[in-house]
Symmetry: C2
Subunit: 252 residues, 2 copies
């Protein structure tokens, strides 16, 4: 089983993002989606979306505390995102798994990235931690693990902070569920230094030389760290003030 | 058959966009994808992508003349986009179709929008021209056709230029192939007034009261006019100048 943990938060394009995820997840056998809303309450939109069918899922929610939320016009790197939501997914797995967990893998899939079907084939047989290239991240076309001729990971090709022990984006690794169950203290931290969230987490469970390079020794791109533009809502705001939003009685 | 015509152009996130399209098209039976590159030559990237399989396709290309290309930092609305590419798709259909065309429908799918599987079920049995809501466009959450109680389209709910005869985005309609074959003069024009490209085109082939409202009388959203952020390429540009791009020998 592939357990996919996705933090998600409300915004105009949320259902579009979730729809694109569903389009690819529907191609993947034995996938269970743990979708975690960043909210006080589960929303109708996400509930209806999940119940519309086709995918095995668990629907959770946990709000990010106000002090940790990005302001409307704050640059994205000033606050970590999706931290408590990913941890809620891990908690759920740890309290619900039934041994043997060894044939299950856990993947953290943000709601706005672009995933290929091949990615999930690559990660499925992870023994400890698998790694692969991630495109369009860190100011470069592609960041990736360095792999020796004998197939060991011995470093990272990244533009940005190459001194991190595990210089990978959240989208660049999959973890065997056993390893997470046997290391119950491994969680993401709001207090990690900027850009060190993934590295700090992986340091708790694995060593560099244990990493399993996938995607043809890390020479293929199967995941892109895309981001979606904030849609223009100028007329909508006017209409809302006049009490006639365009999306009354129609879920967008 | 559903013929999908997609204009596409080179940029860092191009393969990601095409991958998301493929993820949804693979769910649609009897779909033929006419992918038209805005380029002098067909590119290896798109060729490899299409040949990697799973989808029936036709690969075309036609460059937009320099004077009609958007400058690097020009706002998007200053030039029409994908015009000659969509016309190349229409030309191909007109010269390759074999009667009866009446069971085929043509749809214009830009490469960056978000499509649900339901959309294609809705458009499949189009007699002349089907229409439905499009989300995240024109400064509002959703634009859509107005439908009378007896199921006729009699106008448009849009924030922007509601005076257009057919106030719909490119993503909001599907056309029976017969109608296009019988109206060979119907093409998109570079000279349409800003925002009137769709309307001018539809005026040539259909009347308002003939439109077929889909998606539960235009009360459901099955397509979102999303746009992808331009990825940050700061470090990549430095590395390129030093002769060591991160994507050497690895297709992104
Ligand atoms: O306030 C927020 C902002 C983001 N996210 C989620 O956290 C993940 C990462 O956020 P984002 O994609 O904005 O970060 P990026 O890595 O693109 O900078 C995504 O799944 C978001 O939906 C969240 O749960 N709450
Ligand atoms: O120079 C260009 C710019 C855009 N496009 C294509 O034309 C369509 C519409 O462009 P875009 O999505 O940028 O327009 P929007 O409607 O989002 O403003 C897309 O499929 C693009 O790939 C193109 O072929 N050449
Ligand atoms: Mn993201
Ligand atoms: Mn677009």
């Amino acid at each position: 089983v592939i357990y996919v943990i996705t933090p998600t938060h409300a915004r105009p394009q949320q259902k579009a993002e979730l729809t694109r995820l569903k389009n690819v997840f529907l191609h993947v056998p034995a996938l269970h989606w743990i979708l975690v809303e960043d909210s006080e309450q589960k929303t109708g939109l996400v509930k209806h979306f999940l119940e519309s069918g086709g995918i095995s899922f668990t629907h959770l929610n946990v709000p990010t505390p106000k002090d940790w939320k990005l302001g409307e016009n704050q640059p994205v790197w000033q606050k970590p995102r999706g931290v408590l939501q990913r941890n809620a997914g891990l908690d759920w797995l740890r309290s619900n798994f039934e041994p043997p967990a060894s044939r299950a893998v856990v993947y953290f899939a943000d709601d706005d990235n672009t995933y290929s079907t091949e990615l999930f084939q690559e990660m499925r047989w992870t023994k400890k931690v698998s790694v692969w290239p991630v495109a369009l991240v860190g100011g470069v076309m592609v960041e990736r693990p360095k792999v020796t001729l004998s197939g060991k990971v011995n470093g990272w090709l990244t533009g940005w902070k190459p001194d991190r022990a595990f210089a990978t984006d959240m989208a660049g690794f999959g973890i065997n569920l056993d390893l997470l169950v046997n290391n119950p203290e491994a969680e993401f931290s709001l207090d990690s230094q900027k850009g060190f969230m993934e590295s700090d987490f992986l340091e708790k469970i694995v060593k560099l030389h244990e990493l399993e390079p996938k995607a043809d020794m890390c020479t293929k791109v199967y995941i892109w760290h895309t981001r979606t533009e904030k849609p223009n809502m100028k007329d909508e705001e006017k209409l809302r003030k006049e009490g006639r939003p365009t999306n009354r009685n129609i879920e967008v």
